[in-house]
Structure formats: C-alpha cells, structure tokens
Symmetry: C2
Subunit: 358 residues, 2 copies
Amino acid sequence: SKTYRIAVIPGDGIGVEVMPEALRTLDVVSKRFDIDFEYQHIEWASCDYYLKHGKMMPDDWKQQLSSVDAILFGAVGWPATVPDHISLWGSLLKFRREFDQYINLRPARLFEGVPCPLANRKAGDIDFMIVRENTEGEYSSVGGVMYEGTEREVVMQQSIFSRFGTERVLKFAFDLAQRREKKITVATKSNGIAISMPWWDARAAEVAALYPEVAVDKQHIDILCARFVMSPDRFDVVVASNLFGDILSDLGPACTGTIGLAPSGNLNPERKFPSLFEPVHGSAPDIAGKNIANPVAMIWSAAMMVDFLGGNVAGPERDAHDAIVAAIEDVLKHGPHTGDLGGKASTTEVGRAISERL
Amino acid sequence: SKTYRIAVIPGDGIGVEVMPEALRTLDVVSKRFDIDFEYQHIEWASCDYYLKHGKMMPDDWKQQLSSVDAILFGAVGWPATVPDHISLWGSLLKFRREFDQYINLRPARLFEGVPCPLANRKAGDIDFMIVRENTEGEYSSVGGVMYEGTEREVVMQQSIFSRFGTERVLKFAFDLAQRREKKITVATKSNGIAISMPWWDARAAEVAALYPEVAVDKQHIDILCARFVMSPDRFDVVVASNLFGDILSDLGPACTGTIGLAPSGNLNPERKFPSLFEPVHGSAPDIAGKNIANPVAMIWSAAMMVDFLGGNVAGPERDAHDAIVAAIEDVLKHGPHTGDLGGKASTTEVGRAISERL
Ligand SMILES: CC(C)[C@H](C(=O)O)[C@@H](O)C(=O)O
Ligand SMILES: CC(C)[C@H](C(=O)O)[C@@H](O)C(=O)O
C-alpha cells in the first residue's frame, strides 16, 4: 500500500473545527482503499502563532515541509488581532508563490439538497470548473505611495504578468477543457485595462491555436459576472487571471448556494513542490468556536487532494475521491445539515455522517 | 421656461436605435413640464466615423461640446471592424477623463414585470445605487511590455489612485448614503492587492470619520460579488474603484434581471464640464439593426439626465424624471415588452408606449 505524507495546517477560526472532519474522512478511505496517510501536524501559519512569534511561519518552514506530498489547509485570518494582509501574505500567499502553486482550481456545482439562490435551476444544471492563475498578475506587492500626506498623494500598484506564467495557466485550462466538453471561457477586461489585458488576450489567442478542437469564448469580466447569474449552465471551464479568478470562484459557488461548500486545490501540476488543498470559505470569525461550521468544503478539499496524489487518473485514489464526493452528495441530499443549510447539526455530526456513508 | 443644450451622440449598434426613443420621451416631458431642450446632433464617437477618419472624434471635439449642458450617449463599439480598446478609449473613456466625469452612478432595482434570475425576490426587495470611480485606478494606460517575444517576456500595468480622486468619490458616496439609508458598502481587495487597496481602505476610514451617522461595511470584492447574489436586499449605497465598480454595476443589474434596462450617469458633480448619460448595455452588435433592442435603459438614462440638470432637487426636472420612471414602471408591468423580456414588441413600440403613458 502507498503512503502519502500530508502536512496538516488547521490555521485559524473554523479552520481548526473543520480539519478533524477531513481527517476522519481520510481515515475511512485509508482503510477502505488501502491508501496510507502519514500526518505532520503543524501549528504555525495561524494568527495565534503570529501573536507569539511576530511572524506567521518559522524561518525554516520550507525545510519543515520538504518531504510532504501535499498540504491540507484549513483557513487563515483573524482580523481582530492581525490584519488580513499580514496573515495572508505571510502564509497562504507565500505557499502559493514559493511552492509555485500556479493553478487554483475550483469547482462550481449545484447539488440536490442545497438551496440555490437562482430561480429555476436544479441539480445537474450547473457544473463547471474555474481555473485561476495563482501566483502573479494583479496580486503583487510592487508599488508604493508618493507625495504622502499631501493633496498630491498618489499610490501606484503594478500588475505583473509573465509570458511563462500566463501560458502555463492557459495551457492547463485548455488541457482540462479538451478532456471535458471542449469549450472554454477566457475572462478578460481588455476594453478597460489597456496594457495587460490586450496582452493577455494575445496569449490566449496563441494558446487557443494549439487546441483547434476547443471552442473559445472571450468575455469581459463585468459581463461575465453577470452571465454567471443569468446563464450559469453555459459554462464548463473558465480561465482567469489571479484577481478575476478570485472573484469568479466566489461568485460561481455563490450562484449554486455552495459558497460554504466549495473546495479548492492550489496546484503545482509538475509536482516539484507540494500542492495545497483548502476550503474557499476562510476562517469565518463570526461563527468560529461554536462547532457549527459546515465541514463539507474541507472534506471535499481532502478528496481533491487524494485524487491529485493519485495523478488524477483511474486508481484507488480516484476511487477514494469519488466515494467521498458521493458521501457528500448523499448527506447534502438527506441531511444532517448544519445551520447554513437550514439544519441544526454540528460540524462534528455532519463530519461523522459523511464518514458513515462511506 | 429653461433651455438645456444637449449633445446627442447615438454611437454604434443599438445606440442608434434606442436614441430616438429617448428623444421622443424628452419631447413629451418638455411640453408637460415646460423644460426646453436644444439638441446638437453628433455623428462622431462612432466606429463608422473611425473607419472614415482614422480617429473616433475630430480634434476639436471639446470645443464643439463647449456650450452643452449634458451629453446623451447611446453606445459605442463595433469590434468586427474596430477593436474595443480603440473605439472605447477614443470616445467614451476620453469623455470620462477629459470632462472629469469622476462619478459613474448606476442603480440596481427590481421591477414588477421583469423576470428575476434570483429565487424568491419581488419588486421592492432590491433597490440600491452603485457609485463607481470613473477616471483613474485600474483603468490606466501606463505600463508596457519588456523582453517581448522571448521566454522572459513580462507585461506591467499600473493601477494609479490619487488621494484627490479617491476622497472625492468616497465623499460623493457618503453624501448619497447620508441622504438615503445612512449605510454604505465599501468594496476593497486589501487582502490580496497589497499596495493600493490597503491605501484605499485608509482613505475610506478617513472619509467615514466625517460621516459618523453612516454605518460602514467593508467587503472584499470576491465575497461582495457573492453577496450581491445571496443577499441583494441588504445593500443601499455601494462605493467602489473603477474596475470593481464596473463589475458590480453589471452584476447588480444582472441580479435584478435588468442588465438590459440599467441606466448610468457619468457625472461631473461640480458641473464644470458636461456630464454624460448612457445605458449600461453597450452597442450589442448581435441584435443591432433589427429594431428589437429594449429602449428602457436609454430612456431611463435620459430621465437621470433631466434630474441632474435640475440639480437633483425638487422642481420641474425632478418631476419630469419621476414621471418618466413611473411610465417605465408601468410599461414594464403591463407591456408591451421587447424580446429580452419575453415579448414581441419592437424598440419603437416600447418607446411609443412609454411616451403615451407619460
Ligand atoms: C466598455 C467599457 C470600457 C466600459 C467600462 O468598463 O467602463 C463599460 O463596461 C462600462 O461599464 O461602461
Ligand atoms: C484571502 C485572500 C487573499 C484569498 C485570495 O484573494 O486569493 C482568498 O480570497 C482566496 O480566494 O483564496
């Protein structure tokens, strides 16, 4: 049997509460599919750690993680004590950058049992993947303030896109589209953002030429957001820059009622560095500490991790992934449900229910 | 009776078809409320003009418009012959910049008779205003490409925010909030965009301190987009940067089913330069030339113009605005409807119906 080494980083807030449910699920699939997980439990990459040590992670964090196959991540952020741009840039965004996790992959899918905020949509109608560039673009720390404190004060912020970084995310997305419905939506804003976005369009056109069977639909981000609401059924694979992907991958799940259920993979497809799997929902300070958070996004993220560890091909890892997703579907349909879905069950109860269905 | 000089710029595509309906409406209110409009009909700021002259507007465009009180604008863009970044930067974005129309004001409102893509929402539930910065920020033409054509190729794009430009849009929005429900949502992305957005937050905090009665809700753009779908009833005034405002002001109307109905004002509140009023929908090449476009957004934009000309206070202009909006509400409720609302009426028929209800 195979053994995978997993770094377990619960982080802050509800991250700490949903993580045990993911581990509970992994225990079950480990036995059932004969896959071994060896855990490295990590307390840093949390605001508690920051308050004690003045930094989010120890200096040798990379070394400490040098032998892991993947990172299972809860959520980071506790703005009451540590500003978000410190906690996030000091942990999550550092992983994405320094482990070159240049793909952020996020599904949007409508499930039975989950109330949908859109009218007249039923399970099966919405099922698409958002491929977000995850290491460059609009998320940069290049820039600064000039004439500070005067009336002439001005702040500049660079967006920086490399050909290397842009081509590889486009290729990943076109590959995915090729394996799915052979159609792709490319998010842009070349009619307003006059330098980088026409350049992005040119890269997309070049990559598209390599995939003649894939139908390409280029959409400006403003109307694209509108279309997520008006016709979410028309999408299959959507590729976007860091910022646009961030927006679309909250909006997509919101349109399916699953913003609290959405998982994500921060992938280094070449497997040169560990990839990181985390729920989209964040640390949710408002409901933290009450054992009421929905653990589905965390558990689904663990499933994505297992599939990725198996190379995203047929095998026990793929079977384990499919079994977890089926158990999630079943619990979403029949309950128990946490408060966000109108139920009264605790985090633990929902986590246990998913493990039992497995 | 007062006389206002209006520049009429139909532009491209359906702009040309909806404009006559706005003028028809203005004729009616002109008589009924004793307000005179003097029109200056303009053929430039269109792609046809570009194809003939190699530029979107004549060199003396500013001079030609020097005595107008406002600009009524259809839509510009015909990507089949002129790339969007040429047509738009050469006309609409030039007006916004050079006439210092630093506010883009866009309502999102749910009407009776308009199918809403959200479940369980009824007329009256959604009614908010988006205040978008309209002259700077992410829409810049500062930047460029380095190492072109090599593997090291990189493109840089500056976002540029000035204290002057940021404070004035925030103050406009807080003033509006003060006159409405005394609550405001400030869009940001300071957890990801590490230089300009924390700076934007600081400006928002400073301006907020001047309006102690206004409750402030700061939201990152990703979750804010999600909340437009999940709880659109909670918003009243939303203020955002150029890019975020662009996104939100397509998404907001989409959530009310009115993306084709939404009007906008590009305002120079000091009235040093003419303000510009235009439908949000754009030139819509796919349905152009068929007389099937919905003229409501254009007519509603004309109503916003009249109210603005009257100083947004009680008076015949405000009455004219209210009468036009009431006529629109009535036609939306009882028909006739264009194809986008499931009807079969033409642009002209709907325009006539609105004039008749007046
Ligand atoms: C056409 C485009 C440049 C413009 C913008 O992004 O400002 C449009 O989307 C708008 O919102 O008025
Ligand atoms: C917390 C924040 C920096 C992060 C992002 O914007 O990338 C989050 O919104 C996400 O989508 O993972």
